[in-house]
C-alpha cells in the first residue's frame, strides 16, 4: 500500500510538472500549430531560408494564379499578407476566401510550400443558405 502511494504521488508529480511546462513554458512555441502571416513576417529572422514551419490564414480573393508546378496565391490575416508558392495539386476544398495552413519555408519574401491543409470552420449550412460565407471564422 505504501509503495503504491509513493508510485501514485510520483506519477501525479510528473504529470503536474509536464502540465506546468506545457502551459507556462510554451516549449519554445512548438505548441503553436501555425503562425499567422503577421507573426511569420515579424519572426522572419528566426526562420532563416529553408527552416520549415506552418503559416495559417485566409486565401486572398483574386490572388490565386495557376503555375506550372502548382499555385501562387496570397495568405492574409488582417493587414498582413504573405505570397505563397505552392507545389502540388490543390486540396478539394481550396478556393479564394477559405482558411489554409501551409507547410514550408521562406525563400526570400515568398513562402515556398509543398503541403496544404484546408481549415474549414464549424458552421454547417446547406448550399442555398445565405448565412456565413466560406471562410468566415477561419484563422
Amino acid at each position: 500500500m505504501r509503495r503504491y502511494r509513493l508510485l501514485a504521488v510520483s506519477v501525479l508529480g510528473v504529470a503536474g510538472i509536464l502540465l506546468g511546462v506545457l502551459f507556462v513554458g510554451n516549449i519554445n512555441g512548438n505548441l503553436v500549430y501555425f503562425l499567422t502571416p503577421h507573426e511569420a513576417l515579424a519572426q522572419k529572422a528566426d526562420f532563416e531560408d529553408g527552416r520549415r514551419f506552418q503559416i495559417g490564414g485566409l486565401v486572398q480573393d483574386g490572388s490565386v494564379v495557376t503555375t506550372d508546378e502548382g499555385l501562387r496565391f496570397v495568405v492574409v490575416s488582417g493587414p498582413a499578407e504573405v505570397p505563397v508558392a505552392y507545389r502540388g495539386s490543390p486540396a478539394q476544398l481550396f478556393r479564394p476566401g477559405i482558411g489554409v495552413v501551409m507547410e514550408g519555408a521562406w525563400d526570400g519574401d515568398t513562402f515556398r510550400s509543398d503541403t496544404m491543409i484546408i481549415k474549414h470552420d464549424e458552421n454547417y449550412q446547406p448550399p442555398d443558405s445565405a448565412e456565413g460565407e466560406p471562410g468566415d471564422g477561419a484563422p
Binding site: Y33, A91, M116, S129
Partner: protein, 244 residues
C-alpha cells in the same frame, strides 16, 4: 435475454434506422457537400468516448467510496467501450480529414490530445491485467480512472485554447450551435442512437464480466477439490521397499 434487453435492442435498432435515414437525407454542406455527412458518425463516436470515460470516472469514484465490485465492473466495461469509440473517432476523423483537409493526420492539438486519450485508456485496460488480485486491481484502476479523466476537458477545449486545424465545437459551446437546424436534428438523433448502442454494449459487457467471475469462481472451487483429492500421504515403505 431478458425482456429489458430485448426491448432495448428493438428500440436501438429502430432509432439507428431513423438516425441513418436522417443522416442520409439531411441537406449537404455548402462547402463540403456530402463529405460533411461523416459528421453524423464522427461526432457521436467522439461524444461516446467522452460519455464512457465520464461513466468510468463516476464508477471509479463510486468504488473508492462504496467498495462495491459492481462499480469496478461498470468502470472497466465503460472504459473498454470508450477505447473502442475513441479509436473509431480517430479512424472516422482521419477518413473525413483526407478529402476535406487534405491529410489523413496532422499534429493538430485536438488530434494529438485525442490520440493521447486513446493511449491513456489503453493503459487503463493494461493496468487491469497487471494483477490477479481483484481488490488491488479495483483500487488501482479506480485511482487511474479518476485521474485519467482530467484530460477529457483538455481534449474538448484543445481547439479553443490552441491554434488548430480542427474546427472549434459546433454544438457543445457557450453560444448557440452554428449549424442548420435539419443537420442539427440529424446529428442529435445520431448521438441518441449511438448512446443507445453504448448502453447496450455496456450492459452486455457487464453481464459478461459477471458470467466470467462466476465461471472463474466455480472453476477455482472445482480445481481446489481436485487438487485436494490428488494429495495423499506418501507411503514410503512402498517406495523404498529395501529401507529398514
Amino acid at each position: 435475454m431478458t425482456s429489458v434487453s430485448r426491448r432495448l435492442t428493438a428500440v436501438t435498432v429502430v432509432v439507428m434506422a431513423g438516425a441513418l435515414a436522417a443522416a442520409l437525407t439531411a441537406p449537404p454542406d455548402r462547402l463540403q457537400g456530402n463529405l460533411q455527412r461523416l459528421m453524423y458518425v464522427h461526432v457521436p463516436a467522439a461524444w461516446l468516448a467522452y460519455l464512457s470515460f465520464a461513466i468510468t470516472l463516476g464508477a471509479s469514484a463510486g468504488w473508492l467510496w462504496k467498495r462495491r465490485a459492481s462499480l469496478d465492473r461498470l468502470a472497466s466495461a465503460s472504459a473498454e467501450v470508450g477505447v473502442f469509440f475513441t479509436g473509431l473517432t480517430i479512424a472516422l476523423g482521419s477518413i473525413w480529414g483526407k478529402p476535406v483537409w487534405g491529410v489523413w493526420w496532422t499534429w493538430d492539438p485536438r488530434l494529438v490530445t485525442t490520440a493521447m486519450m486513446f493511449f491513456v485508456y489503453l493503459g487503463y485496460l493494461a493496468l487491469r491485467r497487471a494483477t490477479l488480485d481483484a481488490t488491488v486491481r479495483a483500487r488501482r484502476s479506480a485511482v487511474f480512472g479518476v485521474l485519467a479523466f482530467a484530460q477529457i476537458p483538455v481534449v474538448h477545449m484543445s481547439v479553443v485554447w490552441w491554434r488548430a486545424v480542427h474546427q472549434p465545437p459546433t454544438v457543445l459551446k457557450p453560444a448557440a450551435p452554428t449549424i442548420d437546424e435539419w443537420m442539427l436534428a440529424a446529428l442529435l438523433l445520431n448521438v441518441l442512437a449511438f448512446t443507445l448502442v453504448y448502453v447496450l454494449l455496456l450492459r452486455t459487457r457487464v453481464r459478461l464480466a459477471v458470467a466470467e467471475e462466476t465461471y472463474d469462481a466455480a472453476h477455482d472451487r472445482a480445481a481446489g477439490e481436485l487438487a485436494g483429492q490428488a494429495i495423499t500421504t506418501p507411503d514410503y515403505r512402498k517406495e523404498f521397499p529395501n529401507h529398514v
